[in-house]
């Protein structure tokens, strides 16, 4: 049996290509449409916005790789179908240059992604030395307690529970230090609009800074499953101008203890 030249001559190739390309283009369009219409929150805090920017970068890289690899897969499906019972493809076992290439290129991509991640996570987790405002958030089954350390040394608190979803306020463009603790099981502080979550666990005090950059009222939830009424651990956070915040916080009830 003689070895024949590549059977799928130029003509066959072209017909495959003419079918494949519109399909691939459509796929790419759909995928990109999906992402850029996800309307994810852009981050209403300085930290959250950094996360959002990183997310965009990752999203584009992931989609680019995805479209590339999907295109390769669909190309194989379309172009390399078996043509005949006696169609015997070359029995290639390996090809070292290609194998080296598809090992090293992902390593480089991962390296770059890790670099950006490292920079972003350090900025997000950075706590300033002198926050404008300090508060403690205590999660419990199934609600939240927001305590403010007032400048005069006193304390003020807001409680949110399933009977009444409470609202706590934050000053716009000021750094608020949050100490997050729990009274019982593991909870997770989650304000989707801030693009930010953090666990509240017993034995651990989680400290982070929030610097809101957008005024408005945003919903917050518990993201970590914490028992029967996990879905009712809702609260609201209202970002207001600093002056307005000071008036609001001064009129809050002060716990007697």
């Amino acid at each position: 049996m003689t070895v024949a030249p590549d059977p799928s001559g130029p003509r066959a190739r072209r017909s495959i290509r003419s079918r494949a390309l519109p399909g691939l283009a459509l796929l790419a369009l759909l995928l990109s449409g999906c992402t850029f219409h996800m309307e994810n929150y852009t981050g209403a805090t300085k930290q959250g916005h950094l996360i959002y920017r990183l997310f965009q970068g990752f999203d584009i890289v992931a989609l680019a790789i995805g479209v590339f690899v999907w295109a390769l897969i669909f190309w194989c499906i379309l172009a390399y179908r078996r043509r005949h019972r006696e169609h015997w493809p070359p029995q290639t076992h390996h090809n070292l240059p290609w194998e080296v290439a598809y090992t090293t290129i992902p390593v480089l991509i991962v390296g770059v992604l890790f670099g950006y991640t490292y920079v972003a996570e350090n900025s997000v987790n950075k706590v300033v030395a002198n926050p404008d405002n300090v508060m403690t958030i205590t999660a419990f089954q199934w609600g939240w307690k927001f305590d403010y350390n007032l400048p005069d040394g006193g304390k003020a608190e807001v409680i949110s529970d399933p009977n009444h979803y409470g609202t706590f306020e934050l000053p716009d463009n000021q750094v608020t230090r949050v100490n997050l603790v729990t009274a019982d099981v593991v909870h997770e502080f989650d304000v989707p609009e801030f693009d930010f979550e953090r666990y509240a666990q017993s034995g651990v005090v989680n400290t982070f800074d929030l610097t809101p950059t957008k005024t408005g009222t945003f919903i917050g939830r518990c993201a970590q499953f914490c028992g029967l009424h996990h879905d009712l651990m809702i609260f609201y956070v209202k970002v207001v101008q600093p002056a307005q915040f000071q008036t609001w916080v001064q009129q809050l009830e002060r716990p007697t203890t």
Binding site: A4, E39, W70, Y80, H84, H93, V110, S202
Partner: protein, 569 residues
């Protein structure tokens, strides 16, 4: 432990002839790896249907905002059991006990698993564990309702009293031991029972992956089992291992659980990578591209997967972020190697879309999406955004459905003729694929969006004002499509049972050793074995003239045809 005993010569008892070995006693006493493998496959498929049914109920509840289809407590039990049943009673054992038991001894040319009675014990422990798990719905207070991750202190006796939670613990204890025994058996079989000439670097990739999976089981499951013992002690003997009040640390549970939990994810994934690595070369008529790279990638994935447990704990604030995010991102590299090996195998191949290949290519398409969102989640700041939202839910359902359903059913349709001697119906297998594939995208894509819109996981009730209604509806419809697609599967099994079509020993013109014996294989597997000179001994024997083929070979008249899409048989 049975070694010394089994080295004695067998007693002169007459072994009953195979045809007469039927019925309950045969089922209860058989130590044949093929019988045990089939038992596992049937049992895990039933667990899949149970877990799937729970998912259907969950999706009914979430179809309407403010829905009261189930109570909150029932909902919590449902998703807890859905997770546990799917991950620990279906996805893992389906492959590392079901397929591995049946296929690995055949692929290495062994008459049985190394320790047949340990193998049987492993199945009975698994079955009893599974029955205990499912029956926990019947006890007072219902089943466990703390999520499959059972985070302390939610899982302690104060927050989760009742027999359901205890049954969850002891059931996982039993299935954990079952998995460890399966792992030991697999390692011993691969190491000590290979046929002459079957060197380690001629093992089919499926067997390699099962070997690596078995080692991962040996690393991960003892940690889970000991964590469960600690949890039981905390619940009943007033120790305070996971309790701050008594000097313990709840975070320790998370460390222990995820030190098991993340390798577990790869215990679930690697076998299905192996299945796909076996299927794609067969239906492309080519050897696997980059065999050694594939072995290396498998080992690397396994190693890295054990060093990344705390990426489930990024938002705890008490783990080292750069270490875990770097290790996690690195997993993308060997996974990429695997992808390019699969694509390289198909490249310039002669691809024939029989049902196993359709499912395997479906796996590639689907798993890629899950893998890429995995890279996003490997970045701690992005995890701060998406942790415990539906973004995560979408990610791991893509990964897990991608591997266990698409990879798993690729394997099932691939080896079904070998296991039963009968062909399934191709059109039903393809219909099963089509509906599952559509349902899959319909289910997961809206979940990504819902997650980015802030929908947390494990909530029973949401409000219309949250804006998640249409996303959840799409997702529910998708999930029901996946559920409905299994009717095609059951129908397929029914037809092939009632109207058998003989399969022959090698219906797919495959290359590894299991296709050298009859379908189903005889007792102790082989009457003869072809010479083993590569990882495709049967292919070598069937196509001796193709070994050195460097250029494609096609009869000339086909090449001159207009579009050249002759499908052959």
């Amino acid at each position: 432990m049975t070694l010394l005993a089994e080295r004695r010569p067998a007693a002169p008892h007459e072994e009953p002839h195979e045809e007469h070995r039927r019925g309950l006693l045969y089922w209860l006493t058989s130590t044949d790896h093929k019988v045990i493998g089939k038992n596992y496959l049937v049992t895990t498929t039933i667990f899949l249907l149970c877990g799937g049914l729970m998912a259907m109920f969950i999706r009914v509840q979430l179809f309407w905002p403010n829905s009261h289809f189930t109570t909150q407590e029932t909902f919590n039990q449902l998703f807890t059991m859905h997770g546990t049943v799917m991950l620990l009673l279906f996805a893992g054992p389906f492959a590392f006990a079901g397929f591995a038991n049946y296929i690995v001894p055949l692929q290495v040319g062994a008459p049985d698993m190394a320790f047949p009675r340990l193998n049987a014990l492993s199945y009975w422990l698994f079955l009893s564990g599974g029955i205990i798990m499912l029956s926990s719905f019947l006890v007072a207070g219902g089943a466990a309702s703390f999520g499959w991750t059972a985070y302390a202190p939610l899982s302690d006796s104060l927050n989760s009293p009742g027999a359901g939670a205890d049954l969850w613990v002891v059931s996982l204890f039993l299935t954990g031991f079952s998995a460890i025994f399966s792992g030991i058996n697999l390692v011993a079989t691969t190491f000590a029972l290979r046929a002459p000439g079957m060197t380690m670097f001629r093992l089919p990739i499926f067997t390699w992956n099962m070997l690596v999976t078995a080692i991962l089981i040996l690393i991960a499951f003892p940690v889970l089992t000991s964590a469960l013992v600690m949890l039981y002690f905390d619940r009943h003997f007033h120790t305070h291992i996971f309790e701050v009040a008594g000097g313990g640390a709840p975070i320790l549970w998370q460390h222990l659980f995820w030190f098991f939990g993340h390798p577990e994810v790869y215990i679930l994934a690697l076998p299905y990578f192996g299945i796909v690595s076996d299927i794609i070369p067969v239906f492309s008529r080519r050897p696997l591209f980059g065999y050694r790279g594939m072995v290396f990638a498998t080992l690397t994935i396994a190693g890295l997967s054990t060093g990344v447990w705390a990426h489930h704990m990024f938002t705890t604030g008490v783990v080292l972020l750069p270490f875990f995010s770097a290790m996690t991102m690195l997993i993308a590299v060997p996974t990429g190697i695997k992808f390019f090996s699969w694509i390289g195998t198909m490249w310039r191949g002669a691809i024939q879309f029989k049902s196993p290949m359709v499912w395997a290519v479906g796996f590639l398409v689907v798993f890629l999406a899950g893998g890429l969102s995995g890279v996003i989640l490997a970045s701690p700041p992005l995890d701060f955004y998406t942790n415990n939202t539906y973004f995560i839910v979408a990610h791991f359902h893509e990964v897990l459905i991608g591997t266990t359903i698409f990879g798993g059913f690729a394997g099932l349709y691939f080896w079904y003729p070998k296991m039963t001697g009968r062909m399934h119906r191709e059109w039903l297998a393809n219909a099963h694929f089509g509906l599952a594939f559509i349902g899959f995208w319909l289910q997961t894509t809206p979940q990504y969006v819902a997650g980015l819109h802030g929908m947390p996981r494990r909530i029973a009730i949401y409000q219309p004002s949250d804006g998640w209604t249409s996303l959840n509806r799409l997702s529910s419809i998708g999930a029901w499509c996946i559920g409905a697609s299994f009717l095609f599967f059951l129908w397929n099994m029914w037809i092939s049972w009632r109207k058998p079509v003989p399969a022959g020993s090698n219906p797919w013109d495959a290359g590894s050793l299991e296709w050298a014996t009859s379908s189903p294989p005889p007792h102790h597997n082989f009457h003869s074995i072809p010479p083993i000179r590569s990882e495709r001994p049967v292919w070598d024997a069937n196509h001796p003239d193709l070994a050195e083929l460097e250029e494609p070979r096609i009869p000339a008249e086909v090449g001159s045809g207009p579009s050249g899409n002759g499908h052959g048989s």
